[in-house]
Amino acid sequence: MHGPHRLTCEEVFVRLDDFLDRELSAEEIRLVEEHIETCAACASEHRFERQVVDSVRAKLQRIEIPAALRAGILARLASAGEEGQAS
């Protein structure tokens, strides 16, 4: 009799990138999460990789468009609307 399918550490490792990006099927995500809940080593690797991705994203998304550039684009969009109404 076959037991429920469970992933090995190697199988989780090869899926780690796609798991980080939520690009696995729902069933594969469930299987990876199930493994991580019980395997300290894989959980440690996942937590580390997730933290790096989240930290990079947070630090890169702080940049703001220069006020003058934003104002220039706004003016161009407003001008486009006025030109259309005048024609």
């Binding site: 490792f13 990138d17 796609d18 990006d21 690009e23 440690s44 690797e45 937590r47 580390f48 990789e49 933290q51 790096v52 991705v53 930290s55 990079v56 994203r57 630090k59 890169l60 998304q61 702080r62 940049i63 703001e64 468009i65 220069p66 550039l69 934003r70 220039g72 684009i73 706004l74 161009r76 969009l77 407003a78 486009a80 609307g81 030109e83 259309g84 109404q85 024609s87």
Partner: protein, 203 residues
Amino acid sequence: MIPTELVGMAATDLDSLLLPLLNGAFGTAMHLTRNRADAEDLVQESALLACRGFKTFEQGTNFKAWFFRILTNCFYSKYRKKKREGTQLELEDSPELYMYCQTAAAGLHARTEDPAAVVMAKMDSEQVGGAIDALPEEYRVVATLYFLQDFSYQEIAEVLDVPVGTVRSRLHRGRRMLQKALWSVAVERGIIGELSPQTEDEA
């Protein structure tokens, strides 16, 4: 001359769709061009192209992907440098779990439960941005769209007009290369030395 179908209401629609994306567009342009003046020109020109081409945008579809496709196409056609600049990372030297292994070897896993958080907390936005900018172009473009815009593989594929498998491959490799760059920065700036000083027994 603006087409009559862009009168009033259509321009307002573009405003509401485009303006929330400008910060992200500028950040993306900065990492694509690696030059502030070019980045400003790229965003300006992309916004103008979006305005002119707005009648071709199908309402209800993914405006963000539509606009960033304009931006990246504009980058490729006008702003990408033919001559490679900056540090080029070697893919062969970027194994999987690079930072994980390096921080373990430095003894950080024994000192903290969250070594990644501890290291990354000491890196500023400029350092992280510099690591992105060190990636070769094909990896830098995908990584920028992924990290700054939270695009999915499919959305990045639509923006770049490449297969999803290509996006996946470039992103995974790009992340490994990025980890090598981040580690290099962390070592050069003394972050690792500060976090893992030698004890008297180790010295």
